[in-house]
Structures are given as structure tokens and as C-alpha cells.
């Protein structure tokens, strides 16, 4: 990564164990917060001043697939996982090209796009902290039929596909967790097919914004009308009109390619039922296991 700690020393071990919040960068006279700590502090300052978080909360901030794992399995995976910052527009995998990394998003949002000749790419699914990018790997297949595009920037934990395959073989809980996520993802894509077919743009836009906001864990999203038009498979004018309608109702604020979600509940009321249906699918993927207690690190 970025750290110049003595190799194999206690500091490196502690970092690998997830017990470290920050590192001092003497070269640049800087204190670097590790991603998990940065996120926790951001969440805390958003909720309440001087919030004291319990140890188990750290897991709930991260990625649901990873945090559902038993302690030993997660510790083992940590050895091959590295936190990366993904930028908007990065392509994580292309159709037909072997998938290089499995990504477990934390607060970034990835759009799964079907590439259609003669048409702009169409968003068929969204992946965030509830899941994983590169799911064909979990099926023993090393290519995808979709393009994975980073829509909202943020942090993800990534693992090389070779290591991922190894870890998958060794960890039954990881296999099971990914089975359940796969099921929810297929459900999400199937729901989108029907949604695209029947539901009006405004309702679909509200749903898309809510889904993105849930995964990005923030209210401000960087989305242009053009990008949204491509994602939703509609004309740009249609998006502009729908966005104006949402703005008039004070549900969003939209300026210069930045959307701010002002009223989640209002958006929920306007979104099509697909939002709730898909959310329930993803939630039940984790509810079945029941809450899992995991001490930090």
C-alpha cells in the first residue's frame, strides 16, 4: 500500500489485523487516516458530536458480505484484501476480458452496464456495500458479460482473482454469503427489466437516485443528465424534465452535474415499488444469518 513500515514488524501486523486507525507519514509530515477510520469519523460527525462507537459497529460500516463472515474467515481474507480508492469513470471489468480483481465496495457505487451495439451502454444493476463486483468469479467463471463502471467514487476492498478463488474454496461462509448476494443481484436485474418496461421516468429516476445514495452512503452524488439518460435508457430531455419535477417538489437539488438528495422519504414515495422490492431482496440476504458479532480487527 502506501505505508513504509518495517516489514513484518508489530506495526505492519497491527495494520493487517485492522487494529490501526492512522499512520504517520514522516516523508510528507502528514497523518494518514486509514479508510475505515476516515469513514467512521465522517459518519460520527454526521450523526452526533463525539459519538462513541462500539467495537462491533466498525463491521457494520464496511461491506456486508465481508462483515457477515465469521471472525477467522475475515481475518484470513484480510491478508489478501487491500483498500483502494476508486475514481469515477474507472472500469473494473469489461465484457469478455478476464476479471482481474474482486471488489467489495465500501462507499463507492458501481454500475453494471450491458453494452449494446449502436446504443449507449445501459445500466442493468448497481453494486455497493451490499455486495461484490466480479461475481462471476464466485461461480468459477472468470469473465463477465457486463462492464463494471465506477459511478460514485469511494473506497473498496479488492482482492486478486487468483486469491479470491483460493479463499472461496476454503471458506464455506464466504460461498454461502455470495450465493445469497448473487440471488439478490439477479432479482435486482430482473426487477429492472420490468421496471424499464413499465414505469415512468420520474419514478425510475427517483429509484435510481435512492439506490445510488444508499450505496454511496452520502447525499451528494455526481451525476450529469446525460449520464443518467444513458443509465436509464431514456432521452436526455426526459431526464431533465423528471429531474426538474423532483427539484420542484424539493426532493433533490440539482446543479452543475451534482445531485443532492434532500428528502429521502419523499423520493421513496415517488419512486416505483421496485425500490422497496429490491431493497427487501438485499436486506433478506443478510437477515437470514442473523446479527453476527465481530470484534474489530
Amino acid at each position: 500500500m502506501l505505508l513504509r513500515l518495517p516489514k513484518g514488524g508489530p506495526e505492519q501486523q497491527a495494520v493487517d489485523a485492522g487494529e490501526i486507525d492512522a499512520v504517520v507519514d514522516y516523508a510528507n509530515s502528514n497523518v494518514i487516516l486509514l479508510p475505515a477510520a476516515r469513514r467512521a469519523l465522517r459518519e460520527a460527525s454526521r450523526r452526533a458530536p463525539a459519538a462513541s462507537r462500539k467495537a462491533g459497529d466498525e463491521a457494520s460500516i464496511a461491506n456486508s458480505v465481508l462483515s457477515a463472515l465469521p471472525h477467522e474467515d475475515y481475518q484470513r481474507l484480510l491478508a489478501s484484501l487491500e483498500p483502494v480508492t476508486l475514481k469515477s469513470g474507472e472500469v473494473l471489468h469489461e465484457p469478455g476480458v478476464p476479471i482481474r480483481y474482486a471488489y467489495f465496495p465500501v462507499d463507492c457505487v458501481i454500475s453494471l452496464l450491458t453494452m449494446m451495439e449502436g446504443h449507449p451502454p445501459l445500466a442493468v444493476g448497481l453494486v455497493g456495500h451490499e455486495g461484490m463486483v466480479g461475481i462471476p468469479l464466485a461461480l468459477g467463471i472468470d469473465v463477465s458479460s457486463a462492464r463494471a463502471l465506477v459511478q460514485e467514487p469511494g473506497t473498496a476492498m479488492r482482492m486478486e482473482s487468483a486469491f479470491f478463488r483460493e479463499e472461496l474454496l476454503r471458506s464455506k461462509p464466504l460461498q454461502e454469503g455470495l450465493h445469497r448476494y448473487k440471488h439478490a443481484l439477479v432479482g435486482q436485474i430482473a426487477q429492472s427489466v420490468a421496471c424499464n418496461q413499465f414505469h415512468p421516468v420520474q419514478a425510475r429516476l427517483a429509484r435510481y437516485l435512492l439506490m445510488t445514495g444508499d450505496r454511496a452512503r452520502r447525499k451528494e452524488l455526481r451525476l450529469t443528465h446525460e449520464f443518467l439518460a444513458d443509465m436509464l435508457g431514456v432521452r436526455r430531455a426526459g431526464v431533465t424534465l423528471a429531474a426538474l419535477a423532483l427539484q420542484r417538489r424539493k426532493l433533490i437539488e440539482y446543479s452543475r452535474g451534482k445531485v443532492t438528495l434532500l428528502d429521502r422519504r419523499g423520493l421513496n414515495a415517488l419512486a416505483c415499488v421496485c425500490y422497496g422490492i429490491v431493497k427487501a431482496m438485499h436486506d433478506s440476504a443478510y437477515r437470514e444469518r442473523g446479527p453476527r458479532k465481530r470484534t474489530a480487527g
Binding site: 492512522a22 499512520v23 509530515s29 487516516l33 477510520a37 469519523l41 467495537a55 466498525e58 480487527g297
Partner: protein
Amino acid sequence: MRRPPRKPKARAAALTTVVVLRLYVAGGAPNSLQAIANLEAICKEYLKDGHKLEIVDILEHPRRAMAEGVLVTPSLAKLSPLPAANLVGNLSDKAKVLLALGIKRAAAAA
């Protein structure tokens, strides 16, 4: 002249030394909070006689952290009595912390 017998209390005081600790943390980040909680519990249980705990937030005082050679946080430094010791991480391994603090297991309750 017979010397008055030494008072037992005075002797105990001479043997007890105050343990001086400094814990470097990163604001209210998860591991830092855990380290604080763990350390306070250990001090309460094993260092009843006396301890001085200073918590330094390296987000507030980065230059101090650099001057004192901190690499990562949370990071515990035992300054006194000698030998000095260091321990990094969230201090959830009680045995390791006691070892770093120089607290003998025999003296420790359960």
C-alpha cells in the same frame, strides 16, 4: 536509642511506583476508542495504586506525535517505570497489554 518501628504504610508507599502511560489516538476512530476503553479497564483493575494516563490525539497534535516518533495509532507508550515499552493496536489482547505494562500475572486477579 531505639529506632521507632517503621510504619508499614510508609514502606508500602516506597515500593509502589506510579505507572506513567501515554496513549496516542486518532480522534474518535473505532480502534482508538477501543484502545481507550480497554486501557481504562485495565488501569482500573490492575493499577489501582497509581497511574498517570495521558491521551494524545494525533489529529489535534500531529507535530507532537511526529516529535515523539509515533508510527501508527492507536499506540501505547509506557514511559515509567523503566524499561519503557510500546504496544500498537486496539489493546484488546489483555495479556499483551499487561506484559507491556510490566504487570506480573501473579499480582493480577483472575
